[in-house]
């Protein structure tokens, strides 16, 4: 059915119902004010009427949208000869498509089978009837709703309350989306992960030291190793390197900008550092691949250490750069919250600025900094594109950060990219990995939020 016709129909119904309700209410609103004072303003009567009209009409259209395709298909099946409908597969689909093409007036190339022209004609009539019927039903129900609701309009009618109740329901429905998302994440991860665990023993998954998901083409059975430990280790190693870069640089630049920097320089430097936060991670990945990796490898050559261009180190360093603004802006907030009196007390005792910062400011801000640190770790664990490009994808359990490694997120991408046939363990394992990742970041986030919140309340 033509979407424009429907949109026009709905628009007509909307304006019609709104103006009808408005004008009827307007009549008694402008009438004698002494007899009965209207409860609601005319706009609300209009809106109420519009709701009463549009809801049934849209309901009809939604039902047709859901089942229309199936109904027209079964109608075509009835038109086709029996020997065609008994078989399934591409031949039947082609036949149905041909009938549809004829019905649409476009026609098909070549000779027509004897039944096809008749079927096409019948279908085009059926389509016309169905469209008319649906439009009539939608318009009819809408107008019925309109008439019934309009007959109820009286000055005493609490139209505003009705409209506001509908608005309230809509608002509630919208905030349910966030809940539904969480539920969707948990349910989809859990169900698919459970299906994966029907192929692979959870013990082998959580305690296995070999990650080598084999692609068995003949069956859906698991072949190869599905141990998550190499991936977890890689994740931890990359995140640790990232934090080793981000924490000192982020914290020290926050301290400098907060305590030492002249206001003008602070106003200039802070946004520039925050640019780092807005850069897409794929850009960081490319940067790691073409600049940082070769640089680190060359640097390793110069000092006699074998550093690979794509390694845990490369990914970690670049990820650290990505996290710097995150740490520095959170630390900045937290430093701002330390009361001035504490600083002034230290100065009064003759402490230098750095002594005040080290012995008073940082201890006071420590819980907040720990919270920021944990949030940053959770970010590092969940980061994908940098490690996909720069970590080298070698899921092997080894301690040397100069060698390629792999992480949980990289393996999720590798296992699921371009393959959404969730039949075998090769793709389902992505959900088990995702579940692990989700659980890890969830715990970190909850702990971090708890710490940050507790700390915020201390000085208020």
């Amino acid at each position: 059915m033509n979407a424009w016709i429907i949109a026009a129909l709905l628009l007509v119904l909307l304006s019609l119902s709104y103006s009808l309700g408005w004008s009827k209410a307007k009549a008694f609103a402008s009438g004698s004010a002494t007899a009965t004072r209207a409860h609601s303003r005319p706009q609300y009567h209009g809106a109420r009427l519009a709701i009463w009209t549009l809801v049934p009409a849209i309901a009809v259209l939604v039902v047709w949208g859901l089942f229309g395709e199936a109904i027209s298909r079964s109608y075509i099946m009835g038109l086709l000869p029996a020997d065609m409908t008994s078989q399934t597969g591409p031949a039947l689909e082609t036949a149905i498509q041909r009938v549809r093409s004829i019905a649409s007036g476009f026609g098909v190339a070549g000779e027509l089978a004897p039944y096809e022209q008749d079927a096409g004609d019948a279908l085009s009539q059926f389509n016309l009837m169905a469209t008319l019927l649906v439009v009539l039903a939608a318009a009819g129900l809408g107008i019925a709703g309109l008439l019934i609701a309009r007959s109820r309009i009286t000055p005493r009618l609490r139209a505003r309350n009705q409209v506001e109740r509908v608005v309230g329901i809509l608002l509630l429905a919208c905030s349910a989306v966030a809940i539904l998302t969480t539920v969707g994440i948990v349910v989809s991860l859990l169900t698919e992960a459970l299906r994966f665990f029907s192929f692979v023993n959870p013990l082998d998954f959580f305690f296995g030291t070999v990650w080598q998901p084999g692609f068995s083409t003949t069956s859906n059975a698991a072949s190869g190793g599905y141990g998550i430990l190499p991936l977890l280790w890689g994740t931890i190693m990359v995140s640790a390197i990232a934090m080793l870069v981000a924490l000192p640089v982020g914290l020290m630049s926050a301290i400098w900008l907060n305590q030492y920097a002249p206001a003008r320089i602070r106003g200039l430097v802070k946004p520039v550092i925050e640019i780092l936060a807005g850069i897409p991670t794929i850009v960081y990945g490319f940067f790691a691949l073409v600049t940082v990796g070769p640089f680190l490898a060359g640097f390793g050559d110069a000092i006699g250490i074998d550093i690979r261009a794509t390694s845990a180190l490369t990914a970690g360093v670049v990820m650290g750069v990505m996290i710097i603004p995150f740490i520095s802006s959170l630390s900045d907030d937290i430093l701002n919250q330390v009361p001035r009196a504490m600083r002034d007390g230290a100065y009064g005792l003759g402490a230098t600025q750095s002594e005040t910062i080290r012995n008073v400011l940082i201890p006071a801000a420590l819980p907040g900094i720990v919270g920021a640190f944990l949030l940053a770790v959770s970010r590092a664990i969940g980061e994908t594109m940098i490690v996909v490009l720069a970590a080298g994808n070698a899921p092997i359990l080894r301690a040397n950060p100069f060698e390629p490694t792999s992480t949980v997120t990289v393996s999720i991408v590798n296992q699921l990219t371009g393959d959404t046939d969730f039949a075998g363990p090769q793709s389902l394992v992505a959900f088990a990995l995702g579940l692990t990742l989700f659980a890890m970041t969830l715990v970190l986030n909850i702990v971090a939020l708890y710490i940050v919140r507790r700390f915020r309340e201390q000085y208020e």
Binding site: S101, G107, V108, A109, G110, E164, V167, L171, S175, V177, A178, T181, G184, I185, L189, E192, V249, G250, M252, S253, Y260, A261, V269, V272, I273, L276, G278, I279, T281, I282, V283, F286, F287, L289, V290, T291, V321, S328, T352, Q353, S354, E355, R358, L375, S378, G382, T384, L389, T409, V413, L416, T417, G418, T420, A430, F431, G434, F438, L442, L449
Partner: protein, 456 residues
């Protein structure tokens, strides 16, 4: 009194302390300087990263904005193009039959040896007596250019037998050679182009047959596998635009509505507390998990099409929602209570108070939060990989349900291309386009915030 005790007696404890303090002062001042130095070093390091990142991307990407092009006379040789006239729609013919006939004509055209025509044009442009075999000659224009000629002919069959000036893309290898991104001193075995082709390319560059023009193809072409020089961003750009539209249409109303509900209407119960914790957590869920959600629910359960910007937009919407909800709630919290009380005092209902009085005040904040959320979604890659948006698509999507890719995914695809010294520049150029888009969005956000908040 204390002064006298301090200055007179050498044995007094005050003097000893003073002495100790003085002795340690140098060390403490050094410590101060070092600490301050570390702070400055950290800031310089962070700024240095920004500088290096941008100079790398820009210096690598700039050459890609120029493209070598061949300006030649092409003869549409009737001896080679032997297909008969284009079919016309006759009376009484069904649409399908005409479509079939026209497809057959185009198929015949596809079988024409367009390479011959290209090769002839190159030989005609080459200096008299220049020796070059046909494979070598054909390595100068991009392989896609024979299709360009065919399309030109399809549009205008009257070209048959005519000689017309045509501008063709030079191949990626010629482009590299002329731009110097390939080491010219390498031996024949390591060069992508044969010696005569390199020589001819140099001659063409000198006599103006090859010029370096602005690379419009980068913006107006779609991705191409066989013809790197013709690969462009148009498809990815449209895919990103569709996704942004979906995010704006869905995430903004839903996010603002749920923020309004939570902040203004929801009773303060354990349930709403749970919702709040839940939204904060959602904001910190790794983006790839949203990709898993999309793959499992939208693709596997709801059977929405793979690689469609609509599905990508849905996933990004779910990802952006928490950002918008949190920002809108913060904005609503910032509205002074007196405004609400005044509205309620005038007899407004709670809904009227919220929608007529509180919400308009928060528009600037909501708007900026929206733009920042959209910019974030624009740069997201990982979840899109899981719903198949990294598939190779050689068409500009006409609707959000068509197969498409997105700018960041295009960057991912190009960085993995084997033709490194050509595609490294292409990737950088694509990154520049993406970053320019994001910076524009952020600039708009900043501008709107400063503009609207002043008025409010």
């Amino acid at each position: 009194m204390s002064d006298t005790t301090l200055t007179s007696g050498q044995t007094s404890p005050g003097a000893a302390t003073k002495e100790r303090v003085r002795a340690g002062l140098g060390r403490r001042h050094r410590g101060e300087a070092i600490f301050r130095g570390i702070g400055i070093a950290a800031v310089v390091l962070a700024l240095g990263f920004v500088a290096i990142l941008f100079t790398t991307i820009i210096s690598k990407g700039l050459p890609s904005f120029q493209q070598s092009k061949l300006h030649m006379e092409v003869f549409f040789d009737p001896a080679v193009i032997d297909v008969g006239p284009a079919p016309e729609h006759q009376a009484g013919q069904s649409d399908a039959d005409y479509h079939a006939a026209s497809l057959k004509w185009q198929r015949d055209l596809a079988l024409v040896n367009w390479n011959r025509i290209v090769e002839d044009a190159i030989r005609r442009a080459a200096p008299e007596g220049f020796e070059i075999d046909s494979r070598q000659a054909l390595s100068i224009p991009e392989t896609s250019e024979r299709h360009t000629l065919r399309e030109q002919f399809v549009r205008d069959p009257g070209l048959l037998g005519q000689t017309v000036p045509v501008t063709l893309l030079a191949s990626a290898n010629v482009d590299n050679w002329l731009k110097g991104t390939i080491d010219r001193s390498l031996g024949d075995g390591q060069q992508q182009l044969s010696a005569p082709a390199r020589e001819l390319a140099d001659i063409f560059a000198q006599n103006g047959t090859i010029t370096r023009d602005f690379a419009w193809t980068l913006f107006f072409n779609v991705d191409s596998r066989a013809a790197p020089a013709a690969a462009g961003l148009a498809g990815a750009f449209m895919g990103s635009v569709y996704m942004m539209l979906v995010v704006i249409v869905l995430a903004v109303p839903i996010g603002v509505a749920s923020a309004i509900y939570l902040e203004e209407f929801a009773p303060k119960t354990h349930l709403t507390d749970l919702i709040e914790v839940n939204i904060n957590n959602l904001a910190a869920v790794p983006s790839i998990v949203f990709g898993l959600l999309g793959a499992a629910v939208f693709i596997n359960v709801l059977h929405l099409p793979l690689s469609a910007p609509f599905v990508g937009g849905l996933v990004l919407t779910l990802m952006t929602l928490p950002t918008i909800i949190i920002a809108t709630r913060a904005a609503l919290k910032g509205v002074p209570p007196s405004l609400r009380q005044a509205a309620l005092g005038m007899g407004a209902s709670k809904t009227q108070m919220v929608f007529h009085h509180v919400l308009p005040v928060t528009f600037p904040s909501i708007l900026t939060a929206t733009i920042i959320g959209v910019a974030q979604a624009l740069g997201e890659t990982a979840p899109l990989l899981l719903i198949g948006m990294n598939a190779f698509v050689a068409a500009v999507p006409a609707t959000p349900m068509d197969q498409a890719t997105a700018l960041p995914v295009q960057i991912y695809l190009w960085q993995g291309n084997e033709n490194r010294n050509f595609f490294e520049a292409r990737t950088s150029a694509a990154i520049m386009v993406l970053l320019a888009l994001m910076i524009t969005l952020n600039a708009i956000a900043i501008f709107l915030r400063s503009r609207l908040e002043k008025r409010a």
